[in-house]
């Protein structure tokens, strides 16, 4: 088996490869282009945020009821907060990736682990609960406000928004926490690999 595997290693190392060449000039250009792409990606979050705020600001101006106005304001703050959090997460990820990707002092296990930790934290703890706290009260107040002001059974919008808020809230908690548990299991597996086998 050992000689078979040596033959396999030899086959692996001598396999024909597609030609690939990248000049230093091309590398520099790609580096600059990548920075531009990241800048555009960051800006997209804010464009989406402005659109959302604009939409609810418009609702704020046309809604005659106080409760709908309060709901709109809460949603605007919630969405701005969530977009800010997404932007911060992207920025932190980019910085840590740039640091780690370009540092041979970070071993593969630690790099993979730090990525999993970052993803786990996005789905639980302060980040997650503050996102929920910022977004859902507005949605709920807005939906309930619509129902209170127009109690007709035909008021589908009000019922739909309230139902979405009521269903999404526990569903989001369940989905995010189960995702964070999945990441934690992967992290635990990696941590075990740092120690000698039992």
């Amino acid at each position: 088996m050992t000689s078979d595997n040596s033959t396999l290693c030899n086959l692996w190392q001598t396999q024909p490869l597609e030609s690939f060449q990248m000049s230093l000039e091309q590398l520099r250009k790609k580096g600059k282009r990548l920075n531009r792409v990241l800048l555009i990606r960051d800006s997209t979050v804010w464009v989406v945020c402005l659109f959302e705020i604009g939409w609810f600001a418009w609702i704020l101006t046309i809604a005659p009821q106080l409760v709908a106005k309060i709901g709109s304001i809460l949603i605007m703050f919630g969405m701005a907060f969530m977009n800010g959090q997404v932007w911060l997460d992207q920025r932190n990820r980019r910085r840590s990736l740039q640091r780690a990707e370009t540092s041979g002092n970070v071993n593969s296990l630690d790099f993979f682990r730090s990525e999993l930790v970052r993803q786990r934290e996005f789905h639980r703890g302060l980040w997650f609960w503050s996102r929920m706290a910022a977004l859902y009260p507005g949605l709920l107040v807005f939906g309930i406000g619509c129902i209170v002001v127009f109690p007709s059974p035909d008021n589908l919008v009000g019922y739909a928004i309230t139902a979405v808020a009521l269903i999404l809230f526990p569903l989001s908690i369940w989905l995010n926490l189960s995702k964070s548990r999945k990441y934690q299991r992967e992290i635990d597996t990696l941590d075990a690999l740092k120690l000698p086998p039992a």
Binding site: M1, L8, F20, L97, N107, F112, E115, L193
Partner: protein
Amino acid sequence: MPSSETPQDDLYREAVAAYGPALARMARSWESDPDTRKDLLQEMHLALWRSMATFDNRCSLRTWVYRVAHNAATSHVLRSRRGKAKALISIEDAEAQSGLAAHDQSHPALEQAQILERLYALIQTLNPLDRQVILLYLEGIDAASIAEVTGISSGYVATKIHRIKNMLADRCLERRNL
């Protein structure tokens, strides 16, 4: 050589001269689609070139190159995993599934290209860390150096290599004609 070249550029050239083919093999193992593979290889080279600005000889050039390339590839696979929700498995799981990898009885002998194809298919199912271990093993790197590059304890590396050898013999070499 242009006068604008820096020590970073020189180190990058040195690294590519020594490990360029290994990077190409690594990219092929991480990405089966040719276009995406080319992008990945460019990303690995870009990360390597950038990294050379901070190379401080605390580890060997080989360890540095493999770590940087692997970290760039890990980012790539995590990004694509988010998109495709692709489940990646460990060497241990892959070994347990080896019985499922039925050998194609219609071909009495696998050609070398088929062996490589099978090998790539196997590697692409593995999680990033185990992928790194098997790739370094195939590159002929010894267990102690694999432990240094990956950060996995040398005991676990030895265990994983043992499993890799069994798995490769079972999946890729049983019907070989090398």
